[in-house]
């Protein structure tokens, strides 16, 4: 009997081990590919119920072509837009046609949780590339923020990070050289896209034109092109067909004086 029990226990242990190994194998594929969940989970602790709610919220995805306004300056806010794929931006246009881009919205980013408090939009939001977008109506957002404290906390944290990013971009436009501005933007995008599973090793797709980059960094297209030549010539980056590869991240960060503290990543790990 003792021998039988010993064998049984050994078998149990083996089964448990196999099961845990299978889970290990399964877990990468089970890890959400939903960019909103990935982003919010990087900012705050979410439990499985929160993830299920967020997953339900993001089922109705619309395809939006590049260069389409989701909402324009002066419009009455009609919901919160969430980017699931592609790049969108916040921008303003002057009477003479000059455009300034104030923020990129990458997968997992949304605009703006408390927009319902505003009567009219004070800026426009448009797609830079073809995007997959979810529009959540204002009632849905109000229900969400009333009932789900952890999700609300994560969404509000994301809004604070958006503001911190805007401050960093203000430093970029006001006080950095052309090369430093581009380097800083590329360092930031690498981290933001990594969180939502949109990087491959040191590469990511940057589906924007040089004119878009110029309007983002407050430079002329000529200066953007020159800065890109310098960064590529010095071996820090390589760009081919809208694919940015960061070859020397340390040097790129040093040039831009890039510190990722304003992105507040890794909150879940710290919690």
């Amino acid at each position: 009997l003792t021998a039988f029990v010993t064998r049984l226990n050994a078998e149990k242990r083996t089964r448990a081990l196999i099961s845990s190994m299978l889970n290990d194998i399964k877990s990468p594929s089970e890890k959400s590919s939903n960019p909103l969940i990935l982003k919010l989970a990087s900012l705050s602790v979410l439990d499985p119920e929160d993830r299920a709610i967020l997953s339900d919220l993001t089922t109705r995805v619309s395809d939006v072509p590049a260069g389409t306004d989701l909402i324009r300056e002066g419009d009455r806010p009609d919901g919160v837009y969430l980017i699931m794929e592609g790049f969108a931006c916040r921008y303003k246009v002057r009477a003479n046609g000059a455009r300034q881009i104030m923020a990129y919205l990458v997968p997992g980013d949304f605009c703006d949780l408390d927009v319902a408090l505003l009567q009219r939009m004070d800026h426009s939001i448009g797609t830079l590339s073809a995007c997959k977008v979810v529009r959540m109506d204002l009632q849905t957002i109000q229900d969400l923020t009333k009932k789900h404290a952890r999700i609300t906390r994560a969404l509000r944290t994301a809004t604070l990070v958006d503001e911190a990013t805007l401050r960093e971009w203000l430093v970029n436009v006001g006080r950095r050289s052309a090369e430093e501005r581009i380097a800083h933007l590329f360092c930031e995008l690498r981290l933001r896209l990594e969180v939502v599973g949109c990087t491959h090793q040191n590469s990511y797709r940057l589906p924007v034109s040089q004119a878009d980059l110029a309007d983002t960094t407050g430079l002329s297209v000529v200066h953007v092109n020159r800065a890109l030549q310098v960064l590529q010539g010095s071996g820090m980056i390589h760009i081919e067909e809208q694919q940015v590869r960061i070859l020397d991240e340390q040097e790129l960060r040093r040039l831009a004086e890039f510190r990722s503290n304003y992105l507040h990543l890794g909150a879940e790990a710290a919690a």
Binding site: G97, A98, G218, R226, Q229
Partner: protein
């Protein structure tokens, strides 16, 4: 108002070394620079590299040739002389 153009080289300006100093009377008012073949479709066009009028230009167009650049600058400086604070940047 007539602008005078004097060729110059910009040795530290990457591949965009070919440039022209733009004078109004005896004073330097701008530098325009021809884009090298590092600029793809824009190669050969002229870029307002520096503008020494009191307001900084952020959105000048690219010019097909030196004449077009000179005409644009003349219009700009005429407007500037008439309405120093109201000159359009485009």
């Amino acid at each position: 108002m007539t602008l005078r153009i004097v060729p110059v080289e910009l040795p530290l300006n990457g591949s965009d070394k070919t440039a022209q100093l733009v004078y109004q009377n005896d004073g330097l008012v701008a530098v325009i620079c021809q884009l090298s073949n590092h600029h793809g479709d824009l190669a050969g066009k002229w870029f307002l590299e520096a503008d020494f009028s009191q307001s900084h230009v952020t959105a000048a167009p690219l010019f097909l040739d030196i004449e077009e650049a000179a005409e644009w600058l003349e219009r700009r400086y005429t407007r500037l002389a008439e309405h120093p604070a109201l000159q359009s940047q485009r």
